[in-house]
Every structure is written in C-alpha cells, then in structure tokens.
Amino acid sequence: MSGAGETPAVGYDTGELQTIVAARSLAGKRSCFIGVGRPSTAALLARMVHNPELVLVYESGTIGAKPYRVPLSIGDGELAQTADFVVSVPEMFNYWIGPGQVQVAFLGAAQVDRHANLNSTVIGDYAHPKTRLPGAGGAPEIATGCAEVVVIAPHGKRTFVEQLDFMTTRGDHTTLVITDLGVLEPRGGELTLTTLHPRVTVEQVQEATGWELKIAEQLGTSPEPAEHELSALRELVSR
C-alpha cells in the first residue's frame, strides 16, 4: 500500500511505525471516524500522505474536519472551524454513525480479546474496580455502525487478554488490529496474526498476547516506513 520502492527510513520507533501502518490502512477510504491520540495522528497523516480527500469525523459533531495540528481533544476549536459542517451529538449518532454513513472507525481500548471485543470501562470488578477507566463514550455504537473498525492498541499481555474484565464494545465489525508489533485480522471469527512489523518475530507477538494466538499461514511483513512517511509524521507532531 505504501513503502515499496520508496526510500526506507531509519531510526524510527515502534509507535511511529504503528501510526504509519494505521495511516496506510486509510488509503482509498472515503471517511474515517477518529478519537484522540494515535488514531487522530494516523488519520491526519493519511490525509497528508495517502488520501488528501479523506473525510475525518469526530464524535463531537465535526464532519470533514481538516485540523492542521493533532488536536488534544475531539472538540478543539480548530475541528469546528475547519469542518465541512458541524452537527449536534444526537444527529452525529443517529444519522451518521448508527446508519453506517462513516466507512471506517479507528478505536483504542485498554483490553482486547481474541474476538476483538474491547474493554474501556474498568480493570477488575465493575463494583470495586482496580482501575476505573473513562467508559464507553461513543465506542459501542461506532463499532457496530461503521462497516470497518480498526483497533489501534499497544501489544502486551495487559492489553491482549484471554478474558475481558468488562465488555464495553463488540468486535463484530473489526477488520484490523494494528499494534506496535504487527497486524491481526479476524479469520474464522478469531483474531489471527497476519503481518509482522519489520524485525519482529512470531514468538515476540505470542509472548505479548494473553491467549494462544492464531498465526496466518501466509505471514506478511509491514513495509518499512518510507522516508516521506516518517518525515511527514514527525513534521505533523511537531506542529
């Protein structure tokens, strides 16, 4: 999708790679629903490098936002000022997200299970949690409304768990899980390692996953970040 035939970059970190791989997944897509943090960075990078026409949708109500900087919140003023149009929160969920008018969603989570179900509510017991997380927000309906859901999460046993402490969001529509080690895709209803990032081994990924991970027979390797991808990303985050 990118990288091939380009000058490969050197000296990037795994977070940068993860962002770049996520951005590549938006090539050719019409519209993407994004939250804050890495998903937002990846989607802005996609608009810079792969897909200048990509329509960015934030749950705050801004449709077609074109932020110059990575916004801190999903409601920063720049999002409203640069949007094609802005709608109320009820309209956002009822007319745009629920009916599937937004093609792709980028979501994060504290825990992911083998069916790509997500937990963003609590670590531990709901009534007496070890860690209270922010909660559902827009994720449950975004995950069932959008046709394609891309989960972006750090790969480790605390995140990729055998059993969620709380099932906040269903994984039925998940098409990709992009981590800092590789890419998982649903195959036969279960997340399967299909792509390794450069220099990552299957054993490393299995070690960072809380269940016995299915491995695809044809295991791909993510193309190295191209120089122009990495420089665009760094320029973006420095703004």
Binding site: S60, G61, L72, G75, T121, L133, A136
Partner: protein, 273 residues
Amino acid sequence: MHAMAQAVSLSEAIAETVHDGDSVALEGFTHLIPFAAGHEVLRQGRRELELIRMTPDLLYDQMIGVGAARKLVFSYGGNPGVGSLHRFRDVVEHGWPHPIELEEHSHAGMANRYVAGASKLPFMVMRGYSGTDLVGQTNVKAVVCPFTGETLTAVPALTPDVSIVHAQEADRDGNVQLWGIPGVQKEAVLAATRSVVTVERIVDQLELRPGGVVIPGWVIDFVALAPGGSQPSYALGVTERDNDFYREWDVISRDRDQFTAWMQANVLGKVAA
C-alpha cells in the same frame, strides 16, 4: 409554559434553580462547558446532587471531588486527550470523599435520552448496548419493533430538574445563540424542568450565524452574563480552549490535598461573579 427568560446575576440564577438533591445537567460537549455556573453551584454549597453529563470532564471531577454528588449519570469520564479524571477514579475506586452511585451509558444512549426528554416522550429507540456488559450496569430495556420483530434498545428519557449550558450570546429578551460544536445543549434545556444559560455577552439583537443554534428565551428560565464562563473549555470565536490547563489538571487532581487546596484557592474561596 415559561415566561421569557430573566437576565439575572449568575449567583441569583443558581440560587433560584439548583437545590440540594436535584438532578442537574451541565452540558457542553468539550466546547462551551459551563464552568462558572458549576463553580457557583459549589460555592452555594449544594450537596446530594444527581450530576448528569455525557462527558464529566474537569468540571464534574471538581464537583465530585468536593463531595457535591450523590449520583453520576454519564457516558465518558476521562480528561480528553490527557487521561484519567483522578477525582472520578478516586470516588469510584476508593469512595473518597464518599461513595456515589454510578449510572453509565454510551454517548449514543445519553444523546437519545436527551432527545426523548426534549420530545417529552418516555423513551427513544436505538441500536446499541445489546451484547455488552453495559446492559447489566445501566438503565435500558429491550423493545420489539412492531413491524419487523427486531429487538432494539429503549433508553429512558432524561428530564433533569435543572439544565445549565453556556453560549456565546443572548439578546435582551433572553434569546440565546451558540455556534461551533453544539453538543446536546438544546436538548438538555428543552428536557429540563428549569434552565439556566450563561453567556459571554448580551447583544441588542441576535444575528444568525452559520451553524448557529438558537434557544428562544421563552424556553429558558434564567440567562446570566458570565464572560469567560466556559474556561478552561472555550466559546468558539470568543475564548480559546486552555489545553495547558487540561494537562495541569492531571497533576493538580492526582493528590487529594493538592486538589482540595486548589479548589479552595480558585473556586470555593472566590467571590461569585
């Protein structure tokens, strides 16, 4: 039927509308969060509140942290782009300063609950919740489509005793206009028994803006002038979001004593606007 909104001081507006034990919605989705009004509620010493808000944000972290809440009804309790709300975590994880009840929803659920309230319907129908653990921790029910037989989710109307929102401007008759991200403010005001709108400025006449949302004075009880009243949130075109303060709050709010001192110095010990 409301009389026309009265323009009064913020302290009078809050004193007239918010009582101990009330269900209170202070809305504003990232944008136009009514901080000044919420702080006035705290200065007036209100307690046992049922606090309703899609995104509790720093304001409800503060209100929960000083012990004003009996219950929180919400859908996302985080510091957007920064991380945890530490006072919210502390009350849930350790019951400090005292345990509160939680009623937790998704954004789509909360938004539709306000729509039902604004429409004076007892519920709205949507797809969601089913198959998640939220069902067991919240207040939704199944409803069957009488045409297709599909089972959908019914969410109950939100009808706060009081809704408080912030807007850029009002005219002298108390008609309000806000623009930028409109959130659920119109629905929150229409759903409530009583309502207060704080504004950056009073103008002779509203001039309709692109994306402008008008809330007429005849559905509002009180309008109060509160310039900068949504800071560290913002009023598009008037103030800017203080992203640095959102980051600082992560430090201030981590420690109970530091939080308490900050609230005393910056909110509770201040004189009402």
